[in-house]
Every structure is written in C-alpha cells, then in structure tokens.
Chain length 431, copies 2
C-alpha cells in the first residue's frame, strides 16, 4: 500500500486535532482511500506545551525549514496561523513542488493571488477547505458542486464568536461587553478578540468565497467591513419588535452588470429566515446559484474537530492528486477582470436608531431631512423607555445607497432635537 | 481546447434541463473547466414532444444503443429513469469503458452492487450526485468532505412531494387526500404518486446514502419503509400539541457494534429542531460525523434546475477524470461486511393514537397492558373532540423495540374499550 509523507507545520489546536484524528481514524481512512497518510514531521515552536495528544518526539522539529528540506514529504499542512512566516513556508513548499493544505484565511485573503500564481507556475494544488467555515464543505460546494452555476449571492454567518455573542445578547438580553466576557470564559473567543468582533475574520472568509464565486481575487481594501462591537441590547430588542434578528453577515453578490459587492456587517434579517435560527457558535451559508436555486450549508465553523475534518478531506484529496495528477481542481480565481462595487454605491435597506428630545415635531423634522434627500421610510416606531431626558426613535429606511444614508445621518445628527450620533445598521430582506 | 463528447439518454424534465444549462452556461463552464462539454447524441423516445428547449434534430436518435456504439462518446448520462433498460444501458456503457453519470436512484438502490462491481472491473467511474436530494451536494459531502469521519447518523427529508404534502396538511389543516390533489395540481406530485407517498423514493435514496456511509450495499429488503398516506390532520394537530412536527424522515444510523439501521417513516420530530422548519418541496439532510459533528445541507430536492446542477457537476468531474484518470473518487461501497439491524430490534420512541370509549378506567386498562409489557409511558393526553361515541387518546412511549410495540398494539387493539385499530408513529428526539 502506498504511503504519503506529510509535514505538519503548526501544532496548535487544529494541528493537534489533525494528528489525533489521522491516528484515531487510520483504519477508516486506509480502507476508504487505499493508501496511508503518515505524518512524518511536525514543526512547532514550544516542544514542552501539552497539546492533549501523544505524538512521537522523534518526528518533532522547531524549524519548519526541516519540512521543506525533506524530499520525501510531498504534502505540507500549514497551520501556523502566522502571516509572513506562513507565507514563506507556503511559497517555499510550492517552489519545491509540494502540495499545500492550509486553513490560513488571513493569508489567502491578503496573498491569495501570489500564492495561487506560484501554485499554477509550479503545477501544485493548494487546498484550503479549513479556511472557511470550519467543518462545512463550502469550498468544495462552490468550486465543484456548483461549477455549472453563476453564483447569484452568498449570505454567510461565518464567524462563530460573533454569532455566539449576538445569540447570548438576544436570548439573555445582556450587553455586548458581558456577552464577550462570557464567550472568552467559554473558550469561544480569544484573549484578544479583535479580529472576531471587528468583522475582519469574517471578511477574510468573504474574500475567499467571493474570489471563488467570481473568479478574481477581491482586494481587501475594496470591501466594506463593520464589526458587532457597537450593537446594543436595545438594538437587538428593537429589531425583534420589527420582526428581525441581528446577525453578523458576510454578503457576496453579483448584479446584472457583473459588478460584485463584498461586505461584512451586522445585519437585521427577518426572524423567519433560516439564517436567523443559526445560533451559538454555529456557522451557516446560504448560497444562491442560477441553476441550483437556494441552498444552505450549516455546521460548526470553528474548533479543533470540525476544522480537522476539513483538513483531513484536503489531505485525502492532495494524496489522491499525487497518485494521478489532475489539471483541474474545480474553479479557481485566475484573473483580475471583475469589479468590486464601492460601499458608497451599494443599495440596501437600513435601520436607524436616534436619541431625540421627547416632544412633538421631532418625527417631522427627521422625516423632513429624509424626504428632502429622497429617502423613503418603510416604518418608524418609538420604543418605550427613556435615556435621560431623551427617548429612542427607530426608523426603517426603504432603499438607499450608503452615500445617501451617510449624508442623511450627518444632517440628522446635526438637528438640535437629536441628542446623540445616530446609529445605523443595515437590513437584508432577501427580496 | 479539449472537447468531451457526451451522450444523453433520456430527454425528460432533467434531460432537457441538462441540455439547456450546458448551453446557457457554456462560457462559464469553459472558463472554469478549461475544456468543453459537447452533447453529441441525445436518445429519446418521442421525437415530437415539446420539451421547452431547442436542440439540433441531427443529434437525436430513438435508439440508446447509438450512444453506446459511438466511440467518440466517452461520457454517458443516464436519465431514462427506467429499470431494466437503464441497467442495460449503464452496464453496456461501462463495458465499453464509458464514464456514467446517472440520477437513477431506484436502479442504484436495487442494482448498485452489480453496477459498481462492473465499474471497478472496467475501471470507469460512475457519478450519481443527482440521485439523492436534487441540487444538494450530499454525495460529494459524504464521499469526499467527510472522508475522515465515521458517520454516526444521517436524518434526511429526502422526498419533496411528501414534504410538500405534510407542510400543506400542517399549515392549512387539510387532509392527506386534499394535500395530495394540490401537490398534483402544482406539479409537485406525479399522476401516479405511489413511490413518493409510500416512502420508497426516499428509501432508494436512503439505501444509497447508507451504502456510502457504511461501505456496503444495503439490501432493499432489509430496510423498513412506511409512507405518509395514513397520516391524518388529527395526528399533525396532536403532534403539534406535544411540541412536534411530523416529517417523512430517512434515518440511517450506526450503533457501537457497527450494526446499522436504515428506515424511512413518518416521524415526530421536535418543533425546535432545524429539520422541522424545512417546508414545502425543500429537502434537507442532517449529517453527524465523529470528527465534524453536526452539519446540515438544505436545498431543492427535485425539479429540473436543481437536479441539472448536480448532473453538470458530475459531467465536469467525469471529464476531468478522463483527462487525468484517478484511482479514487472518494469512498465507495465495496463489500458486504456490514449488518443491517431488522426493524423488530430497532429501539425508538413512539406516538400512539387510540380511539377509545369515553369513560373512566380506559387509561388504566391501556396503561396496564403497556406496564405488563414493561413499556414506559412518557406522556399521555386526551385531545378534545369525539369520534362518534368514542374519543381520541394519545400516548407517547419512552423507548421500546418495534417488536415490543407491535405486541403492545395487538393487545391494546384487542381491548373492548378500544374502538379502532391503534395508530402508531415513530418519534425521534435526536438525543
């Protein structure tokens, strides 16, 4: 039986899971694949750290260069989660003709073009199912299963930490700060949760998905990203009153002209939509293809085991591709011929929460500003409760560009009856 | 650019969709694949039938043998939906070294072993994503994405017609007969809906899924199949009162001893479970793997376009495999070493609806029978309403084998206070 030697760079949570499950499910994999996957070298930083998994110390090194220098190793797994170092490792592997499996979403989002250009040049495949949505096979679905589809849109809950926080805020009516602290206590948020709560972890995944769907690497500076750290318990309560849940969504869409939009932001979505019922650390992606119609993929988006499931599937495919080299691994981005619509021009609906003086005439003033800017109001309501001498006032805006709404917010914020900077959250009705 | 000649056998709804979308999305496919997929011959029965799609009459034949005899055709699509004829066509294609793409679930369920043995012998792959759950890439997910997982269970809503009927019965409180008539009027049920409503369409899909998950072709006579035609509006109402929805589920599970169970039957599932919110003609499959954990796949399970999406993905993969032949296409059933548990031994929970005399002491008699048989009662209630001089009485049974419950039903049915044959529906709590 043929054996494939694997080099594992990075022995954090996922690295340890990959080693553990390759060992535990070895018989299953051997039977299904007809070959063996052997971890020949592990590169890690701290030899003495307890990883909850036993591996022979003889295969351990602290230099990832040792993996590159081993000619028997034809498949490398990059799970270091670094930027420059991971990039050097991956490009080094590609140059040496090694197949790369990675879960490094930030690196792919920022250096995808460079990495895949190198891979094309050296004729080695790069697999990255683990980079988006943990155990959900969304890369495979888009690249392979929906290859005959124009992707109309993808709406994804693709950051488990944010979704856990928003779920706690919704179910238990606690503040963002409390929910974040709890997520950290539960191990669902890092000590430094910045990339999770500011939306950029989701944004990296959205860039990868958009690139697969539309065939060009979307530059990270062309997308719009907003996190959940400004969402209040009040927003969630008011949204609920309007029939909406608030979720951090990655939205990827193409319009009739082939212009695409890629954005990540907290979003009011109808409570009846299936994405609204995706709670806790779970991820889900609604993919709409022109042939297949509406689909949805749901599962654990992070964590050792789900992510490991994706890495192992990639390893199996990497080894099979070494047995019989393919010219095609499903659709890959290969050019720069698409256009990414600037957020200013993107049309959507909006929720506006104002803090206003509690007196007659205020609604007329705000409505007057919106009317003068030709912005339609779908609904408005005045929730109960006061903030000092002021009261909240909530508007839902029909359709406007971000530029229009920003203009409106500036003018509304300058009204004397408006006591705080207005708060705006986008709305998606899946119309 | 390389061209692959395809022979299309069967030009019904899906066949016409395949031709239409291969044509409409030709540029997209060419760009993504780097080769062309050309339909070179179409075999159909009735040349004059209007299929809503234009194709050159020069490529049409009424003899599928013409496709087999054309040496340029290296990929055939079997969409005739026949039994013996489809089998002869597929085996003929395999013997001639042609790759087969099919959506024929009944044929795979009943002759899968024969077909795949022939495919192994002649070293040609057989692709069948379209055979299960229309546009949902569930075959790819199980064969490839979850290759490193022991599949613990699959719970699937895999018959759109049944789900449409049950949804209508639930939402509009109409009878099975009315809902079926409406499904036929809407085009969601065939003129002869037997295979949909008696559970066998779902059972064919369950056999395919079980075979992929557990590595042996499960004989169709070893599985338990019950349709939805005996479900009443009352059952749906009573289930709702207990917090359950009724769905036709395909259930595939392995126990600790490696014994598997495959069954299709109407099932009470908790209203809060995500499968309970899968309505209308949509399909969904909850797959639990030992590494990936809980996942769910959702989409349209039938119809021209969704099924076409899967056929095109298979065609793309078939052609890529011709360019670079692989030894492995993900896990395939390859032996007969598993055991399928007989329904008599399968343990589950049950809903029992009795029609009993409206007098004190009846509950005690029925409970006495259950108690003597050592069967525990989780709950019971007496719904409002009467049936003549009798009244309904509903029990939920904790855990029992089918053999036990059948014995109980026989004894309960024989009680003088019980006026009609008792009705039993299985319950799944996903514990």
């Amino acid at each position: 039986m043929q054996h494939f030697a694997i080099g594992l760079a990075g022995m954090g949570n996922v690295g340890a899971g990959v080693f553990k499950h390759l060992t535990q499910n070895r018989a299953l994999l051997r039977e299904r694949l007809g070959f063996e996957l052997d971890v020949k070298k592990i590169a890690l930083r701290d030899i003495n750290k307890n990883r909850g998994v036993d591996f022979p110390t003889g295969i351990v090194t602290t230099r990832w260069q040792d993996i590159l220098d081993d000619p028997e190793i034809r498949i490398v797994v990059e799970l270091m989660g670094q930027k420059e170092e991971s990039l050097r490792f991956m490009l080094g592997a590609i140059e040496r003709g090694k197949t790369v499996v990675t879960g490094n979403k930030a690196l792919l989002a920022e250096h995808g073009r460079e990495i895949f250009d190198a891979a094309t040049k050296h004729k080695v495949p790069v697999f990255f199912e683990a980079a988006v949505a943990g155990g959900i096979p969304i890369i495979k679905a888009i690249r392979e299963a929906f290859i005959g589809n124009h992707i109309r849109s993808i709406h994804g809950i693709i950051n488990g930490t944010s979704n856990y926080i928003l779920t706690q805020m919704t179910e238990r009516e606690i503040s963002f700060t409390e929910a974040l602290a709890e997520a950290q206590a539960q191990g669902y948020a890092e000590a430094d949760p910045t990339l999770d709560v500011n939306g950029w972890d989701a944004a990296h995944k959205a860039v990868i998905l958009a690139s697969l769907a539309y065939g060009f690497w979307v530059p990270t500076d062309k997308i719009f990203v907003e996190g959940i750290d400004q969402i209040t318990a009040g927003d969630i309560r008011f949204a609920k009153k309007l029939g909406y849940a608030i979720k951090l969504l990655g939205i990827i869409k193409a319009d009739e002209n082939g212009e695409i939009e890629v954005r990540v932001h907290p979003t009011l979505i109808p409570e009846k939509h299936v994405l609204a019922s995706v709670n806790g650390v779970f991820n889900a992606l609604a993919v709409h293809g022109d042939v297949v119609g509406e689909t949805l993929f749901y599962g654990r988006g992070a964590g050792q085991d789900p992510t490991t499931s994706s890495v192992i599937a990639d390893l199996a495919e990497a080894a099979a591709a070494l047995q019989s080299p393919r010219s095609n691994y499903g659709f890959m981005p290969h050019g720069l011929y698409g256009t990414c619509k600037p957020i200013d021009q993107i049309v959507c609906e909006y929720y506006l929460r104002l803090t206003v003086e509690d007196r007659p005439g205020v609604v007329a003033q705000v409505a007057g500003v919106l009317g003068a800017l030709n912005i339609g109001i779908s609904s408005l309501f005045q929730p109960e409760g006061t903030e000092g001498e002021a009261v909240p006032l909530v508007f839902v805006i029909h359709k406007a560009t971000s530029a229009q709404i920003q203009n409106a917010l500036d003018q509304i914020g300058a009204l004397p009856c408006v006591k705080k900077a207005p708060r705006m959250i986008r709305v998606e009705n899946f119309a």
